[in-house]
């Protein structure tokens, strides 16, 4: 008993943090799979949220704290709520099963599956291409430096090199906000 205990103690436990990333990775994949497969739309959105959270945790595990927290803040705080609200506010059953024109088409399911698979394949190929053929992927950076980009550096980069895209995004978002407010303000006259 005592020897067994000593053997367990002697295992390379200090290496364990290196493998801990497997937990959020697993949760993320399961969440994404469930988001695709579940029937209830709200459940799908919640699983997607779980996947977002796990992705944020993965970023943090890599030492990219800033990106991880922004991921949580934006995706869990805003995007997930947006999706949930969009599902709630869309009247369910507007496209009734009988009115669906694709329903009468014989191989609709097969075509849908083929289209989805094509899109997925294209995305996968382009991602793999980006990973393997981009100059950044080849660059050898010591992991400690690569991971911890100080917030100051990010901010300076954002306001010096990418100021114009930032401003353009800001204008676009403002326009979208005003448009949304206009759309929402229009009341149906009864």
């Amino acid at each position: 008993m005592h020897e067994l205990f000593q053997k367990i103690i002697a295992l390379p436990w200090d290496q364990a943090p290196q493998w801990l990333f497997l937990i959020p990775a697993f949760v993320m994949l399961m969440g994404a799979a469930a988001a695709v497969m579940l029937r209830n739309l709200i459940h799908c959105a919640l699983c997607l949220t779980l996947s977002f959270i796990a992705l944020g945790v993965l970023f943090m595990a890599l030492g990219a704290e800033f990106v991880g927290f922004v991921q949580l803040l934006v995706y869990v705080g805003a995007v997930a709520m947006l999706i949930l609200f969009a599902i709630l506010l869309t009247p369910a059953g507007e496209v009734a099963a009988s009115n669906n024109p694709l329903r009468n088409f014989k191989f609709s399911r097969a075509f849908a599956a083929a289209g989805g698979a094509t899109v997925a394949l294209l995305v996968l190929v382009s991602l793999l291409g980006a990973i393997f053929f981009s100059p950044h992927a080849r660059a050898v950076v010591p992991p400690a430096q690569a991971a911890i980009a100080p917030v100051k550096a990010i901010g300076e980069n954002l306001l010096n090199h990418t100021l114009l895209p930032l401003q353009a995004t800001a204008i676009l978002l403002t326009a979208a906000l005003i448009g949304a407010a206009l759309l929402a303000k229009e009341e149906k006259k009864s």
């Binding site: 709200i42 919640l46 949220t49 704290e65 927290f69 803040l73 705080g77 709520m81 609200f85 100080p150």
Partner: protein, 416 residues
């Protein structure tokens, strides 16, 4: 090392209250090493790291849950005083054991789940609510060198993790299959999203002036005294005062406390997203709300009230961690005071207040802080930044919140 040595260290540690918590932690680690030597094992460093983490987690959770228990009885006492009655005084001395009685009551209550409810989500919601609330306190600096995780992006961490409670409220409201629940959840989320903007903006202002997102760095930036007695806290600058007040109100709204407790407005929505919860799940929501409230007020103390710094130089003999909790207790008292004083907002008033007053004011405070920063932080900076926050304040008050009465432009409100 033997046990007697460890025991002898206890009175020594108690002699310097400033470092008491840190030394106590070291003592526990040495105790673990001693336990290992008792069994005949040299304790490997990873075990000590693990114990270190566990000690901190247990300490934080215990302190915040004890504070929650004390707060629940303290709040009722203060409310009772405000309403000229005694409040709970039956259980224990001055009713201090009331939380124990409440806890037993909550635990033994029947846990009812509506028949049509989404049972899994209904079960998960209180957990999703409580976990972020318990994670939040780890980033607050409680005293000199006393911070659980010294994150360089601590402020961002706070808002990122805090976003989880919105999801939890949605889960609770949606899974109950009750129209009052979902309406209450919608209101709560609308309120939290609206008030998150001024909340984050006022934190951004402090980060701008302090030049860091780390809570410890922000507290350190507020150290020292002007003229030898006047603390350098951010609340004592014009922009800081405005940002602090904005943060305080946003924090009230974020933690769904009166006068922003519309999501649970009993007279309109039964109990909002909590309608279908009973027993211990309800207690978990309650607990999450209070712990979240302590955490967000702890952040207010960190950002504006100088964190663990003493207010006057000769008061530094009181240990720094005491100052943090004294300030927190003061804020908690003020929250109850506000609750006893203010009636509940109407929903349109609340939204108007957020978007027409809080948000423009937070931008004004941002400009003012930038002016203060670049004008050299002296008297000139004071003057410019005071003018820069005063003009928007009076302009907003005049154009948005003063009703200019005349015979034909009188607008009838819904309630009339």
């Amino acid at each position: 090392m033997n046990f007697i040595d460890l025991l002898k260290r206890i009175p020594e540690i108690c002699k310097t209250p400033e470092t008491l918590p840190l030394e106590g932690k070291k003592l526990i680690l040495d105790f673990v090493t001693w336990l290992g030597s008792l069994v005949g094992i040299a304790v490997p460093p990873w075990v000590l790291t693990l114990v270190n983490i566990l000690v901190v987690i247990v300490a934080i959770i215990a302190v915040f849950l004890i504070m929650f228990a004390l707060m629940s009885v303290w709040e009722r006492k203060i409310l009772a005083r405000a309403q000229n009655r005694y409040g709970p005084n039956r259980v224990g001395p001055w009713g201090l054991f009331q939380p124990v009685a409440d806890g037993i009551k909550m635990l033994t209550k029947e846990d009812i789940v509506p028949r049509n409810a989404d049972k899994v989500v209904h079960f998960i919601a209180p957990i999703v609510m409580l976990v972020p609330a318990l994670i939040l306190p780890v980033l607050l600096p409680y005293g000199r060198g006393m911070v659980a995780i010294d994150l360089s992006v601590g402020i961002l961490f706070f808002f990122a993790v805090g976003a989880g409670s919105e999801v939890a409220i949605f889960l609770a409201g949606w899974s109950s299959r009750n129209k009052y629940s979902i309406l209450g959840a919608m209101r709560a989320i609308a309120q939290m999203i609206s008030y998150e903007l001024p909340l984050v903006m006022s934190a951004v202002i402090v980060a701008l002036v302090a030049g860091t997102l780390s809570p410890t760095g922000i507290v350190e930036a507020q150290g020292g005294y002007q003229f030898g007695f006047f603390p350098n806290w951010f609340v004592f600058t014009p922009w800081g005062f405005v940002a602090c007040v904005l943060f305080y109100f946003s924090a009230l709204a974020e933690s769904n406390r009166s006068p922003f407790d519309l999501p649970e407005g009993e007279s309109e929505l039964v109990a909002g997203h909590l309608t279908e919860y009973s027993g211990f799940k309800y207690a978990l929501f309650f607990m999450a709300e209070y712990v979240g409230m302590f955490a967000i007020n702890g952040l207010l103390v960190t950002l504006f009230l100088g964190g663990y710094q003493a207010p006057l130089p000769f008061l530094t003999f009181i240990p720094s961690w005491c100052w943090f909790f004294i300030k927190l207790a003061f804020l908690a008292f003020s929250l109850v005071w506000v609750r006893a004083t203010m009636p509940r907002f109407r929903i349109d008033q609340m939204m108007q207040f957020a978007w027409k007053f809080m948000l423009p004011m937070s931008f004004a405070a941002l400009f003012s802080a930038a002016a203060w920063h670049y004008a050299g932080r002296g008297l000139l900076g004071w003057g410019i930044s005071a003018v820069l926050v005063a003009i928007p304040y009076f302009a907003l008050g005049y154009f948005c919140f003063t009703r200019h009465h005349s015979a034909d432009n009188r607008r009838y409100l819904f309630s009339e």
